[in-house]
Symmetry: C2
Subunit: 421 residues, 2 copies
């Protein structure tokens, strides 16, 4: 497609999404449920078709010399398809929040006033690489009666296009507007900039991927964005910690899956903890293959520890590396977390309910944990059934976002002819 | 103050606000209540001091040749002070939502997970002219444990500074951080631009004023903004309307206070309504001194009616003018409202519960009313006790915003040593 045709293409997508979103306000939960099950069925029935599209992406990826890990994430394997199918059935089974009325009051003049949960409208998801996001994100948006515009990574272009086509087919045969799921069918990055200017047609943008992508989206967008830039998560082991809990939590938070946003990046050790216990914490990390970067007091525990700089307090390693700082009490720990952290997920290990209360109250993060691993910060683990992302913003949704977070409300006022005097 | 000193000034204000907001997380509701009552007392005790500051503004306003209406709005009269004092006591009496825990669940692994309502942090209010906003807005922000930065209109500069100084005094003597209320003490407009770049220190911007000011704030801000540009409100009189309700609602919505955002700007008349009833509606408006601009069918009712253009469908007159369109049924009415309206407040007059349900469900506005005047869209009328503004955005808060809308939540996870497997 020619560059000068891009604006018209994006106009068309955004306009059709807005029209579909209006129609979606009136679509019954049963129809959406039907569409999600239909999509699950099509994923299995059209396997050969999907494989063909996926092979095109994989061949291009190999030619470009992408890493084995990247190629693995791109591949629509039996396992990936199985997980998409399961995800669709799970989202279909959730209760739809749309139409719920709450906060009702009757005013002295007889007006009945309440809030009604309604879809947000049109949501654009801008993401990288993995094609499973295409199916998961679309399912969650649909479940809350929204229309969605998907812009995935260029590496998964053919796979995403094939998946979106199946979605439109599933919608069409279920009485749901097929334009409620659309994909941007060009790899040109300018398409993203054009999309981000459509504030009349798009109500919300959710970017998912590396910090560079997210900063670009925030910078260019005329539309509200919900996002997190990164996850610089802390575990603070207080002087009142139970070491039987502290060591497993610290290891789990750092080692179980170091490449994700809810992994621990900095360990804060209280100077009041016995030296053998402070040593046990860093020793356990080192034994698990973690490279440690510490302040002076922490380096005293383990001579092999490298020297940490201020950059390490801000760092999201996403790797088997960990910054370590020894702090003088809970206030210094909280000060460190609020100053250098990313307001994602932070944990305290303590047996003191007073310390736990102070930490809960003063740590300014989307998830605050007491005696549990930061790795639990996840929509599934919180019992939301699914997750469209994690927000470290303070407005609208904070922490893991599920179906309910893709709704807004309107005020309904029911009268019998009242006028204001 | 010199231009080159502005950045440091704004840095200082934003930094102190962030520090105050951290301390505010731990301030008890009783202290805030005490501070609000103390402020009410100071407003009465320091009347002479306030009058002096206000006189400076009024003299400058007269020299600049501001209109009598503008000067009236600037004046700190007994009535204005009385209303500020009442407002402070009313906000003090509200129940604080901060600290409320909700949405609790216990997971199969024993984790207890819930949401806790917490203050947003630092809120900047950018507004025009009336000094009473200084007191009202600060009170609502404090009630929800936020720190606030106020930037009022240059005309009210001295009055606002005197009011903010009293607030800091009231806070200080009540054990609340006095930096929780700060004012930008310069009239230079560049101060606003600098403020809007402080995304690390400021969490939310609420602009209040004309569309020009609000568009400037949205354009320049790196911080999330909640706002409404304008209120293009509709009343749709269906073919099933009770005229005993329709005429008073239409007149009240247009005439009672035409200069405000919840006044009706366009009347939509159903073509299925009897001609004498359609005539009664436009005739009543004309008799109340309203200039009408109509489409062809509406002009047929009243030859004196001017011709409406598309610009009139988009217009917010804020005056005794009203656009009139005759529509073929409820679908065309809804289509008109969603296309030309501002998603603020729209009303239907109908005796049909089926029509009311369709209108409620499909009109995409922050307030949707059935058989009531659009003029009721207001925090006080909705029973919120106060209002910091009206949002036509879809994220976070929609419609009139009160104390609760200035809070966010964090997820609290309480464990006993759980790790993720």
């Amino acid at each position: 497609m020619k560059k000068q045709d891009l604006p018209r293409l994006i106009d068309g997508i955004a306009g059709r999404a807005r029209t579909a979103s209006r129609a979606m306000q009136d679509i019954k939960p049963a129809s959406i449920k039907k569409a999600l099950h239909a999509m699950a069925k099509l994923l299995e029935q059209r396997r050969a078709h999907l494989d063909k599209a996926n092979r095109e992406d994989l061949e291009a990826a190999r030619k470009k010399g992408l890493s084995a890990a990247m190629i693995d994430r791109l591949t629509l394997s039996d396992k990936t398809i199985g997980s998409m199918v399961r995800g669709l059935h799970e989202v279909a089974a959730l209760t739809s929040p749309v139409g719920t009325c709450y906060d009702q009051r009757t005013r002295p003049n007889g007006l009945k006033i309440y809030k009604m949960k309604v879809p947000i409208g049109v949501i654009a998801i801008i993401y990288e690489s993995r094609p499973n996001v295409t199916v998961d994100a679309a399912a969650i948006c649909l479940k809350s009666n929204n229309a969605v515009i998907l812009r995935g990574g260029s590496e998964a272009f053919h796979s995403n296009r094939a998946l979106a086509a199946l979605f439109s087919e599933a919608l069409g045969e279920s009485g749901v507007p097929s334009d409620a799921v659309q994909i941007v069918p060009v790899v040109d990055r300018e398409a993203i900039e054009l999309l981000l200017k459509k504030e009349e047609q798009i109500d919300l943008v959710i970017p998912r991927g590396g910090e560079g992508l997210i900063r670009m989206v925030v910078e260019k967008s005329h539309i509200p964005v919900i996002k997190h830039y990164k996850g610089v998560c802390h575990v603070y082991v207080s002087s009142k910690a139970d070491m039987e809990k502290a060591v497993p939590i610290v290891i789990n938070a750092k080692v179980q899956r170091p490449g994700v946003c809810n992994a621990m990046e900095t360990l804060l050790i209280d100077a009041g903890l016995k030296e053998k216990n402070r040593f046990a914490l860093v020793q356990a990390l080192a034994e698990n293959g973690v490279t440690l970067l510490g302040d002076k007091a922490s380096r005293g525990l383990l001579p092999a520890m490298k020297k940490a700089t201020v950059d390490d307090w801000y760092a999201e390693y996403l790797d088997l590396r960990c910054a370590v700082r020894t702090v003088k009490g809970i206030d210094e720990a909280i000060e460190h977390i609020n100053t250098y952290g990313s307001h994602h997920t932070d944990a305290i290990v303590t047996e003191s309910s007073k310390e736990a209360a102070v930490f809960r109250s003063l740590v300014d993060s989307s998830s605050v944990m007491v005696n549990a691993s930061t790795r639990f910060a996840d929509g599934g683990e919180y019992g939301m059934g699914c997750e469209i992302g994690i927000s470290t913003d303070k407005l609208h949704a904070r922490g893991p976002m599920g179906v309910e977070d893709l709704t807004t409300y309107k005020w309904i006022v029911e009268g019998s002819g009242q006028i204001r005097t």
